[in-house]
Symmetry: C4
Subunit: 276 residues, 4 copies
């Protein structure tokens, strides 16, 4: 086993003890780095601990740089990693400080704030720690096409509701344009209801009432979609496997495989024979 | 094939290449037209690009005019189209500019703003692109009677809640009349909660608390209705019946009956034979 | 058939033509009466049409008085009606105007506003028109014990959340007392979010964040309860009836009655025999 | 039966009449004590009834002290009780007044307000009265791992959404730091929508619109998880297995197997025979 293979085992797999330690250490550093980004955005904290924050940011950046280089070196096909989702995330998590040095020397200090955005991409490094293949994810992925059709309808409803409110209430009551009206309609349909804009005229309040009742019925739809998909997912789990063709997706009451027509109870029958 | 039939194929069907190109082009023009309506409503944009917007609006209107005329000409029974949902939508999407010309000449410039409302009907042209027969739509349509009974109850609850709050809080705390109270009750029951009106007295806050907890339990109902209907819809899809034992409760992917093991495709096989 | 029986048929049953006409007329008068109550609460309308409103209110009151007297006379056991839910509602819908006369003569004009509350009880007269035995109502009634346990937990959570916020934010940020804190907690947990009171300190905002995420998970519970009950209700409907004992609540895949053990397919078997 | 056993029966069990009386009395005192804590926090009430409140608080504290001592004495292994959830709750419910005496004598009057927090723990004494083993609780407990994964995703989304809004809207529109942005994102995603902070710029409103639509789809997930778990729980209850054919999927009320028609109570019948 070469040193590259050893490194690969440590950073890509969590089977060995070294691998697990690396995973936990990485997790802590990511979270620490995110806490740093958050605290850095609070002005009075940022001013007080400026030197400490810069130092810590450099330590974290160097750590991520080493991690990135090791990941590229230790994998057989570096291209697969570099252009994968995690490859891009790791890259974007590393460069902000280097880029800010270049910007600083060229005098474009204003863009430094936008660079903070890039550091936030580090949060995606945490996605590695979620089981991506969980049954929740499966049910969600299957619901996406239906939810998209649904969102399409919501957007159409918002468009009409927003325009109607723009005409009824008008700019004097905060509905300054159709986009503002649509923004209000979505705030209302999703039941968020900030209250920054709200109907003032009796007619506007009446129409808003209808929109809200509509939203009330409509909020049931994505819930219904996901729930139906999840219930399905649940039922699918408890199933017998056909000993002939391997099909596993049978009903609870099935006697024969719906795929090949073979009896599902052969093994049980054998067991009964063996017991005799 | 006459030219009318050719036109019919292009604008009514999406099977041929020309038909698909027409569909995509129409989709882009509708969306562009809606973006135009939206931007036109933002005052400072509207003032700056006035000439451009008028020109584009004329181009779009002429395109919709041609589309409308071709749809009327190329169909066998024009009446069926003209008085159908899409016929009316297409008509209302076309006329605003023409009507505004007449209004402008007669000096009634004030009504021009209301005419913008008619242009918004173009959004309904987008409905053509949603699969109307999707299982979501089916489940929704079946839930409507139950949801109506439910909304009826919500309206009755809102009526009482609104009146009680009007009496308890009174005009001095924003509940200026029973309609305002009902408006507040619906804003609260649907969990939108704008906050433009809210209870101020301790008793009012206590009653609001009970209304909110009620709304909390009540929001479950439309969700329950739609979800139950969707779960049903999911189960219902498997409509093949075994020709041997009559079992009907098969999975979509079933090839053989899970009850007797007989092939589910016998009839299809026969049909294929008969066609030979 | 005596005249009492005829009156009974008209006002208690909707089978005959006269009964249907009475039902529709009553429905219109109730709704008209409610619209009157609503409009009467809007000050500027109330002042303008004062005489008209008083006249209409008298007509409606006299109509309800006649209806109430007829209902009492035409029924065999008047006590059953008078002390039933609808009897009390009908009584309370009739008396406000009479009581206001007495109050007016005794000079207590201030209480007139509270009397309006009684007129609102007329809304309950509309409940007669909703099918009380619908499957939605059944599922809801079965969910009530579970929802009560749930509300009990929500109240306990609100109590703690409200107290914590009262201590953390304090009266200077709007949390003037524990009841106010509890009011805020329920406004937040039910996702209504008026915004009349909201956390201002960073610690308060952090705790609010946790409360909201908790509420996010918790709102799923009543929905889950009602949905599970409704899905159950749905499954229960599509069922075969046992020809031996009359039990109807069988599974779709049942071959024998789970109540008496008799074959469920006897009739089908007979039909098959008859066809031979 | 020693007096210790008698006390144990009264305070730990609700079988005897004395035990039931004790339970009801305790329930009333806990609720009364909580009402006292609540009213005490309302300044003008607290000032007016100061002496009454202090007296009542002493009576309640002495009652809880006696209860606590009796619970410790009457149980066989006091350690099990003292360090159990209810033991700690009972202890924390009793001490605040005693501690406040010590603090008062040492002059640290400022901390008295924080001591009120401890009295709130009495609400947990109410948990004893909820059936902890209800099917709702079971379904919730089983949903926790999935809901945690889900909350993890929500936190990641909030983090990104909050940062983006901080950059787009900036401190001048209320998004003073990333933590504030995250607070706003959670307020929005959970559809609470206080409105204390809200987007002002068109771009901010557009991004907020997308976040709300996302939240709209996302709120379906915990509901789906809990509902699916509850539907499962409902189905799982029917646990009788037919001793003849092994079919397990029976209704609760089933007397005979729906698959083979055999009695489901054979074993019970045998057991009854054996007992004879």
């Amino acid at each position: 086993m070469t040193w590259k293979e050893k490194v690969h085992e440590v950073i890509y797999e969590a089977d060995t003890k070294a691998g697990k330690v690396f995973d936990v250490a990485l997790f802590i550093i990511i979270v620490a780095s995110l806490v740093l980004v958050i605290l850095d955005s609070v002005e009075h904290i940022s001013l007080e601990y400026h030197t400490l924050f810069v130092t810590l940011e450099w330590i974290i950046t160097i750590f991520f740089t080493i991690e990135y280089i090791l990941r590229v070196i230790s994998i057989k096909k570096p291209k697969n990693y570099i252009f994968s989702f995690y490859g891009i995330v790791d890259f974007l998590s590393t460069i902000p400080l280097y880029v800010s040095l270049i910007f600083a020397s060229s005098g474009a200090l204003l863009s430094l704030r936008a660079l903070r955005l890039l550091r936030v991409f580090r949060v995606f490094k945490l996605v590695r720690y979620t089981g991506a293949g969980s049954s929740v994810a499966v049910a969600l992925r299957k619901s996406i096409p239906k939810i998209l059709i649904f969102l399409y309808s919501v957007v159409i409803i918002s468009f009409i509701a927003g325009t109607v409110m723009y005409i009824v209430e008008g700019p004097e009551n905060g509905y300054t344009s159709i986009p503002t009206g649509i923004y209000w309609a979505i705030v209302t349909l999703t039941t968020v209801g900030f209250g920054d804009i709200h109907p003032v005229t009796p007619l506007g309040q009446f129409i808003a009432t209808i929109i809200m009742l509509l939203g009330y019925g409509v909020i049931a739809v994505p819930t219904g979609i996901v729930t139906a998909e999840m219930t399905k997912e649940n039922t699918r789990k408890n199933t017998q496997v056909c000993s002939n063709c391997g099909e596993a997706d049978h009903r609870d009451s099935a006697e024969f495989c719906h795929n090949c027509g073979d009896s599902l109870h052969k093994e049980q029958e054998k067991e009964i024979k063996n017991e005799d």
